[in-house]
Symmetry: C2
């Protein structure tokens, strides 16, 4: 039997999201059926639903920061049972046999990972629909255990915003004594501050605008630098081992490069597109690097959830009803959220076709 | 007593290099006095003498690929004695106490390394003059031992072209099974092919023009890819762990990025300046990096010389008389050299003021 579910979907790039009913597949032997309790709203949900990246298929049910409870498992499932709190992030499958998958880098799967929504299930070819829905059915391998210590609503954004900042912090081996800077204080940036601080780093926030000092310090920043102030930037010369740039639109990264120490790396996690006139001179003269990073692998995502539980880390969230999703998108466009919207999926029970 | 020496110097950005006489300092307790036998000609000699980088001081005696024999040592020198074959590269001093120097990264010295020419001696404030001269006086710490197995003339370019490609190969941990590509077949590129091959890598040359196949294979390339051929480039997708880009002028690196494997790095070693429209998307989507690298530290340079001796590696050179230096510069500008000019400094004995 398959599962009829209610959801919120985009039906066109310019349309408001609205109620959409569809059927989730009958569980395969290795599937976990999850009742969704909370779903975070990621900036990429907005890009995807509005077809900013050019490959939208409608109707599209967004959502890849999913927290729920197991309600049923297939006969081959060994790690989960009904009642378990679980999470699902940006991926629901990968090829499992390429070099990247072998290293636990499913996000870099050489044959292409299967994304949680607006993608195609590799087994039956059906469309994947995301977390703005009542239930989801996912192969056990891509389901995360949610430690009991985590608040379920505040844990939802960890599945994308959390792992997107955690993975580069781990990959570039941040620890006690590291000097880390975060560019931008949004959903990704606020997680970057919390995670880097918990790893023992000395943490600096680069912000374009004053007034975020108190909040940044509460989130973990030891220093706040206004990136438009030349004197403040000059004082940071040669300082950082790692800079995580979370800014999601085109911007000039050249001013940040001189603040890297020799051998330091600036990692872009928010912006996909051309950079204007990146100057290679400071890269060459001090062996610096400009890199990118995408979410994280499944084992690494589990590590991140366990790390957050051990350190009492959640996302700062604003809980909304799904009926308010379109207004939340507009506010997100204005950066008017501290720091992540999360949908209380109980609200979907009240939704009816208008 | 100080040493009067003959040299060839540039006296203005547009003038031909000509004979110049000056005095080398009397050796300090830790100094090694070296009779120069061979000096390689680096592309940066041309940039510096023509003031392309804007900080030329004249007269300028270029040359930082220096091979010679010790003729005298100060009383505190312990590692060298008269008769020893030695080398001097791009640096003759650094602060010795910053974090970078402590890691053996004198080239990234936080207080600024002292370059072999067109720079200022930190002790007495005098101008540094390079290797297009009869003798040079250098503190022991910046003098390299030249293993007996090395041909002295063919070893000269190792001090810059060799270490510039060796250092990134080591830093990014190239070894057996690594897939390495070299962009450009010049002085740096031909050393990159030899060194990467000797480290056990599978080596590919990216070249813009056909006709270099036989030479590239002789130098160590397993594959040659014509970078202007879209089909050849597409066949390289996701292949390389490390790409060393030796091209010394502005060029588009975007076509090379897709040929990197996940987690791969493209290292610029030849070009200092702005890049047009670097696309961050492939960096983010596969955790790739664009980095830079500058020569190498002193201990690493010694490692490189020892490695070259163990593997029978020299630069392919064309030996010239110093009287032909200006013609050599013109030919270098046309890439008409296989693959490095080296000056036989014995020719300087015949030089007289015209």
């Amino acid at each position: 039997m398959s599962y009829p579910v209610k959801s919120y979907a985009a039906h066109a790039p310019t349309a408001r999201l609205g109620l959409f009913e569809f059927e989730r597949r009958s569980p395969r032997p290795d599937d976990v059926v999850i009742e969704i309790l909370y779903c975070g709203i990621c900036h990429s949900d907005l890009h995807n639903t509005r077809n900013d990246w050019g490959h939208a298929r409608y109707p599209m049910v967004p959502g890849h920061e999913i927290i729920g409870r197991v309600i049923e498992v297939g006969p081959e499932v060994t790690r989960f049972q009904p009642g378990d709190p679980v999470g699902v992030g940006c991926m629901v499958e990968s090829c499992r046999h390429c070099g990247a998958c072998g290293k636990g880098w499913e996000q870099y799967c050489e044959n292409g990972a299967t994304y949680t929504y607006n993608h195609q299930d590799p087994v039956d070819g059906t469309r994947t629909y995301g977390g703005y829905s009542e239930k989801i059915v996912v192969t056990e391998r891509f389901v995360l255990k949610v430690p009991e210590a985590l608040d379920l609503a505040g844990a939802a954004p960890l599945l994308c915003a959390g792992i997107t900042t955690y993975s580069p912090l781990r990959h570039w081996q941040v620890g006690a004594g590291s000097r880390v800077a975060i560019v931008g204080l949004g959903g990704l940036g606020h997680m970057g501050l919390k995670l880097a601080k918990a790893m023992g780093a000395e943490v600096t926030l680069f912000s374009r605008t004053p007034g975020k000092e108190a909040d940044a310090r509460r989130l973990g920043a030891d220093h706040i630098v206004i990136s438009t102030e030349a004197a403040q930037m000059a004082a940071m010369a040669g300082r950082f081992d790692l800079i995580i740039d979370t800014v999601p639109y085109q911007h000039d990264v050249n001013p940040y490069v001189p603040t890297l120490a020799s051998n330091g790396t600036l990692v872009m996690v928010g912006y996909l597109g051309p950079l204007e006139d990146l100057n290679t001179a400071p890269l060459v003269l001090n062996r610096k690097a400009l890199a990118g990073s995408l979410i994280g692998g499944i084992a690494e995502t589990q590590d991140m959830l366990d790390f957050c539980a051990a350190h009492g880390i959640h996302s700062d969230i604003e809980l909304i009803r799904i009926q308010d999703i379109n207004e939340a998108y507009e506010r997100m466009l204005r950066s008017d959220v501290k720091y992540r919207f999360v949908i209380d999926m109980a609200s979907l029970k009240d939704a009816s076709s208008a």
